[in-house]
Symmetry: C2
Subunit: 329 residues, 2 copies
Amino acid sequence: MDDVARAAGVSLGTVSHVLNHPDRVAPRTRDRVQRAIEELGFVPDRRARSLAGGASSMIGFVVIDLTNSYFVDMARGAEEEANLAGMNVVLANSDIQAEKELTYLHLFDEERVAGILLTPVENLADQAWRSREWRRRLVVANSDGGADRCSVAPDDELGGYLAARHLIDVGRRSLVFAGGLFHLAPVANRLRGAQRAVAETNGAVRMTTVTTAGLRPKDGREVGARLADLPPAERPDGVVAAADLLALGLVQALAGQPGLRIPEDLSVIGYDNNQASWESAIPLTTIAQPGHEVGRTATRLLIEEIREPGTHRHQCIKIEPQLIVRSST
Amino acid sequence: MDDVARAAGVSLGTVSHVLNHPDRVAPRTRDRVQRAIEELGFVPDRRARSLAGGASSMIGFVVIDLTNSYFVDMARGAEEEANLAGMNVVLANSDIQAEKELTYLHLFDEERVAGILLTPVENLADQAWRSREWRRRLVVANSDGGADRCSVAPDDELGGYLAARHLIDVGRRSLVFAGGLFHLAPVANRLRGAQRAVAETNGAVRMTTVTTAGLRPKDGREVGARLADLPPAERPDGVVAAADLLALGLVQALAGQPGLRIPEDLSVIGYDNNQASWESAIPLTTIAQPGHEVGRTATRLLIEEIREPGTHRHQCIKIEPQLIVRSST
DNA sequence: ATGAAAGCGCTAACAC
DNA sequence: GTGTTAGCGCTTTCAT
């Protein structure tokens, strides 16, 4: 910056002014300085800027699983909202490992970023990050952040409700909820929501639960095979799958069976709006996770907390998932 | 840090020493300082450290498409290699937009990161980043970086060769190369490789090319339908698909046909080792993109360039893809 | 409108 | 071994 000042024949402080308060400097000198910046290819040093000024414009986002497009959507939402406020988002991949999560949390802390977004590793044994007092503002996404910070999460209970409700609306009366890993809050909440929808029918609709080993296509194919073996009278006419990949396997196993057309004889609804759900042979009706919206909202909250530390009140926001109707129901 | 020094009853410089050269300080004072750090919850400021010392330990990786697991693999590889050298990797999502790519390149430049990794947007009109002289060390991944910088890319020609070679090895004699978007270097190179494998047979094997609109399952299903309509005599016995999702659609369309068992009557090989390839009903034989290895190598080159600016020579490294045999061949 | 100077939090000589 | 001090590149008062 010294060079720029010398080339433009002004003082260091003036160069700084054209960078930060261009209006407080005479148009002619401003032009002169800007030309010098151009010619010298001057690139300001953000480390020094934020050191001296105290304000970083970088938000660090510790993402749990970048192979899951839901979280990438969240990152996109976060970027959009951050850009609106003139801030940037950089990502770190914790890869479902509590250790890496902590490493990056520390990195961002030491980098003195303006704020941190975190999608925590859910394993209860691995929540060391909660016990530490982070000096950065931190908002939690996709999971409950506790009372003393902001968090934003999808409303899985509502999602489960919408899924079952949709099957009921298209005339299904004998449902199955297929899912596994019920110790995970999202799955458990989806089941609860589905049960609420059934309960509302006052007995007009029945639903049983089938537990799978996991939520992969393989698990779905197993359930599908089991359902296909059932005597037609006992067969359900609607399946709520806890995840799209599960639903996908289910449809694969069922689609070939005689007298079992999808969706005529059996409707299947998934959950996630996974890429596979719309690229499969029978595009899946599904509940779209509001990743984009979660990312935006979390970032909005974070920036609010950064900008107005005084008036800010912590809150936990639930985002509505979206029903997407396709060919499987 | 002042507080720490005061609490430990030492000078500022000593605290700095226990942080940077713990061996140069007496064990007892070191312990005292470390205890003070603990108690005060002191978190060193990386901005100030790198400002004063000149060395950042952060590598910025501008990733083109985080929804593609190939690039996430690259990021993982980069992290591993960076950690080995005591460095960290933060990610930025350019999302296939040249504009965002430039934004993040500038961000990392201004942040004075130790080095930059870039998977460039391939659109030739959008290569503004090439014309600029980045002040950071930059290595290009997954694409040719040009003569004046390092780059690492998968050997697509070899991948295409391996794919066709495998079909030939399992006895296929009438091949089809199915693919689209031949203006993209990767696809074109895969085709060339496949043709080389065929040429080596001196006419014992024939291969025709079928052009698809894209590389999605939908496109695969179209080709599949076309092949199924062919009189059995004219039908190929092996298909090299330019991408897994394409192969997936193809298999879906073909699997149901009478007298067309996969792999007995027709072998299909994909490309990418996409998640879908191993989770589908008929797991796909495929060529695995060496994302992890590309990431590692690019980072190794970058760190080499950072650490030994004198002896470093720019180079362009090609990484071998891997044949993964599954049920479709 | 511009310049001078004090510091942001730290590292790296250099003294003692 | 430990303390002292001069910067690193910038922003921000406070003068002028």
